[in-house]
C-alpha cells in the first residue's frame, strides 16, 4: 500500500514539473511570435494614423478565424503573425488541461479523468460551438 502511494506522488510530481515547463514555454513562444509580428507591423505601418479604436467594428477587422490567420501568415501579413501569437497564447492553458488529463490517466484516477474531460469538452464547445454571435 505504502509503495503505491509513493509511486502516485512521484507521478504527481513529474506531471507538475512538466505542466510548469509547458506553461512557461507556451508564454515565451507566444510573446516571441507577437514581438516579431509587432516589429513588422510597426515597420510597415508605424507612421500611419491610428485606426478609429473608439469605434468597434468586430469581425470586419479580419483575422478572427484560423483560416484568415493562416492566410495572413502565408502572405507575411504583420497582423496575421501577431494574431498567431494570440492563438498560441490562448492555446497554452487549453493544452495544459490536455496534459493534466494524461497525468490523471497515468495515475488511473478515474474521477479526475472524468472531471478533466468535462472541462476539456466545455473548452471544445467554446472553440467549435459557434458561440461567436
Amino acid at each position: 500500500m505504502k509503495k503505491i502511494i509513493s509511486k502516485h506522488l512521484f507521478a504527481d510530481h513529474d506531471i507538475e514539473q512538466f505542466i510548469g515547463l509547458q506553461l512557461r514555454y507556451g508564454v515565451i513562444i507566444a510573446s516571441l511570435i507577437v514581438l516579431v509580428g509587432g516589429l513588422i507591423y510597426l515597420q510597415q505601418s508605424g507612421g500611419l494614423a491610428l485606426p478609429a479604436y473608439h469605434q468597434f467594428i468586430g469581425t470586419k477587422n479580419g483575422f478572427t478565424s484560423i483560416g484568415q490567420i493562416i492566410t495572413g501568415i502565408s502572405t507575411f501579413n504583420a497582423k496575421g503573425i501577431i494574431q498567431l501569437g494570440v492563438v498560441v497564447l490562448i492555446a497554452t492553458p487549453v493544452l495544459r488541461i490536455a496534459f493534466s488529463l494524461v497525468g490523471f490517466v497515468m495515475e488511473r484516477d478515474k474521477l479526475y479523468i472524468l472531471i478533466t474531460l468535462i472541462v476539456l469538452s466545455v473548452m471544445m464547445v467554446s472553440i467549435f460551438g459557434g458561440l461567436k454571435v
Binding site: E16, V34, Y53, V86, I90, P93, S126
Partner: protein, 277 residues
Amino acid sequence: MTILTFTLILLAGAYLAGLVGSLTGLGGGVVVIPLLTLVFHVDIRYAIGAALLASIANSSGAASAYVKEGITNIRLGMFLEIATTVGAVAGAVIAVYTPTNTIAILFGAILLFSAAMTIRKKNQEALTTGSNLSFKLKLNSSYPTKDGPVNYQLKNVGAGFSIMALAGVMSGLLGIGSGALKVLAMDSTMHIPFKVSTTTSNFMIGVTAAASAVVYLQRGYMDPGIAFPVVLGVLGGAFTGSKLLTRLDAKVLKYIFCTAICFVAVEMIYNGYNHQF
C-alpha cells in the same frame, strides 16, 4: 497620433499595469481596461479582448513557477474549473446582450470589491477536519513551507463551487481573471490557506480566461494592434513586479494602489452611468 506613438505609449502603460497588477495581486488585466478606455478612449470591447490576453499571459507565466514548487492544488483547480469555464462561456454569451455602459458599471463595482479583498485579513490557518465531499473529491492536500509540509482540509465545497461559477461569469463578461472572487471562494468559504488559494486561483485564471477568449477572438474583440503592446507590456511589468516583491515590503504600496484603483473604479461607474462608453 500615429500607430508608432500609440504603440509606445500603450507599451509603457501596459508595463505599469502589469507592475501594479503584480504588486497588488489584482492582476494586469484589471488595470488594462481602465487604461485603454479612460486614457486612450478605446472601445471597451477591444479593451476586454486585450485584458483577457493579459490575464492568460500573467496567469500562465506565474503559474509555471508555483506549480513546480508544489503549492498549487491541481485537483482542486481542475474540479473548480468546471464551474469557472461553464461560467465564462455563459458570460461571453451574455456579453452580446449587455450594453457596454452596464459592463463598465459592473466592472467598476468588481474593481472596488477587488481592492477591498486585497487589503483584508488573510486566512493563514489550515483546517484539520474537512467535509465529506472534500474526501470524496480528493481535494484535501498539503503544501510545502519553511517548517516542512502542512496538511490542510477543506469544507463548504458546494458553496465554493457556486461562487466559482459566478467568478467565471464575471470573467467572461468583463474580460478579467476575477482573482478576487476566486480567492473569496477558496480562502473565505472553503477555508483553504492563503498561499494555496492564491496560487490555485492564479492557476485557474488562464483556463477561465481562455474559455471566453476563444469566443471573443471569433467576434473580433482582439485587435492585433492593441494586443501586441498590451501582451508584451503587461508580461514585462508582471515580471519586474515579481522580482521587486521579494525585495521590498509591498504593504504600503498595496494601500496606495488600492486607493488609486478605487478612484479609477468610481470614474468607470460614473462614466458608465452617464453613457460615456
